[in-house]
Amino acid sequence: MNTGRIMAIFEKDIKEFTRNMMLFTTILLPIFLAFMYSRMGEEALPPMLVYLIVGVAFSAILCSGIMTMMAEENEKRTLRGLVQSPASMMDILIGKSLVVILMTAASLTLAFLIMNTGVEWSIATIVGLVLLALFFLNVGIAVGLTVDSVATTSVYLLPVMFIFGFTPMVELVVSEPDHFVRQIADYLPLYQNIAIHEGETVVPLLILAVWTLVSFLYVAWAFRKRMSDERK
């Protein structure tokens, strides 16, 4: 790890992110949703909606942001002169992650300020959110390492968004609570955060940790594959 290089890539990508309309407009999405939902009534929003916005923010900014930025580098082969070792690739990934984390945090903070969430900021809630963020970030990096053009990212991004980002929407599509789709959905990461919100802690945190672990394995595999491809 080299802080100078991480900062170089961070500064460069902040500029690229804010000048790329496709990426920059994603920041507005959670804020816009929060604004819309908060107009619906005076009382606190149901947790399902609050976490839907969290899911949207994590999948549309955090995950898609880093995925798109990496895909653009791959497509234009701009990394070729810069990356010469796994270490410098790490610096690039860390620098880019910092950019999307900053952007997601800014967008989500504004969204939370706009709506009346009724979220209790307990340690479990925060740990849950951090694990969820890591999950989405890892998926984004792993896909970003493997795709070779911006166009192909949408093939990966859509399922990620619908399955992991918009999970609470399943309640609108499948209305019977005992349907097997709903039972599977209960184990998806976003529902663990809703469970934590409703007072449970140990089991949902464990399930979330497992998801995050799986995402780490995915990203480790993608990183190895990329580095061995570069050497070919």
Binding site: R5, M7, K12, E16, K76, T78, R80, S85, R231
Partner: protein
């Protein structure tokens, strides 16, 4: 320093090596498929930086921001303002690279090679479509890289480009690598004839002398160049030179004869490298030996 086995490039038994040499520049002319091979062989070396004219940069950054980024990434301590000035980029420093012309992108590639922290620079066709300004700037970049202790190797498929970069070049073909030196040949005038017989596939063509731009010899064959077309002629370069002696043709280099009426300008790239620019739409540059520099000038003006 990094070395490449010639046998791996030409895929035949060969004892020779192509080597990067510190503080110097090696220019090698080779066919396109060997260029591809050399690129593959150096692809994973962590000490070799590949300079390509077609390199692409971050389109949303301005020229200045981009150079700053390189400086930070490579931890190099270059003076950005000085570089912008030296490479004629001051008027473009606030322009986003996506809007810059290919000429500017090519200059960025030269600067990138200078700023990179790798010791060896492999320049692949660096003068591809280069403007006269960019050729000058490439010479400047090479000088700077030599001063920085870098080893520069230029590989190109165009003999003209190779001679624009250096007076002495190497040629790589399936026989291996050999030096092409610029040397003198004796000359004596004679003969009358105002057309040359040339071959193009199954046709025999008679070419008017005033249409010929220049004649080159390459790989043992002699070619006449007429507005983007090449035709083979049967005789060798020395014979041709003698035939054309009285028709305003001049042997400007060991492998080249130029039609003096088609000479547009002579460019002096560095102490020992000269080029003749042909008066055609491509502004083709052909090499001029140092020793012929004065003589050709006398021939070109009214006496």
């Amino acid at each position: 320093m990094h070395e490449i086995k010639v046998s791996e490039v030409i895929d035949r038994e060969n004892e020779q090596y192509i080597g990067f040499e510190e503080e110097s520049v090696t220019v090698i002319q080779m066919p396109i498929e060997y260029i591809q091979k050399v690129i593959e062989l150096t692809n994973h070396s962590t000490s070799v930086f590949r300079l390509e004219s077609s390199a692409r940069y971050y389109n949303r950054l301005t020229v200045r921001e981009h150079l700053k980024f390189f400086n930070k990434w490579y931890g190099s301590q270059m003076d950005i303002d000085n570089i912008l000035k030296q490479f004629g980029l001051e008027p473009f420093q606030k322009m986003k690279l996506g809007k810059c012309s290919d000429e500017i992108t090519q200059r960025m590639a030269y600067i990138h090679a200078m700023m990179s922290n790798r010791k060896c620079v492999l320049a692949v066709n660096p003068l591809y479509n280069a403007t006269v300004d960019n050729i000058h700037l490439f010479h400047r970049a090479i000088e700077q890289m030599k001063r920085m202790g870098k080893a520069v190797m230029v590989i190109t498929h165009s003999t003209e480009d190779a001679f624009v970069i250096s007076q002495d070049i190497l040629k790589l073909n399936n026989q291996g690598i050999k030096t092409v030196k610029t040397e003198e040949t004796p000359d004596e005038p004679q003969s009358v004839l105002n057309r040359l017989k040339a071959r193009s596939e199954d046709k025999t063509i008679f070419v008017d002398l005033e249409d010929i731009e220049y004649i080159e010899s390459s790989e043992g064959k002699v070619y006449i160049n007429i507005s983007r077309e090449k035709f083979v002629i049967e005789s060798n370069l020395t014979e041709t030179e003698q035939k054309l002696k009285d028709y305003d043709f001049y042997r400007c280099h060991r492998s080249y004869i130029v039609n003096l009426k088609k000479v547009r300008e002579i460019i002096n790239w560095s102490k020992n490298t000269y080029s003749i620019v042909i008066d055609n739409p491509d502004k083709t540059k052909i090499p001029l030996s140092r020793t012929k520099y004065n003589e050709i000038q006398e021939l070109l003006v009214l006496r």
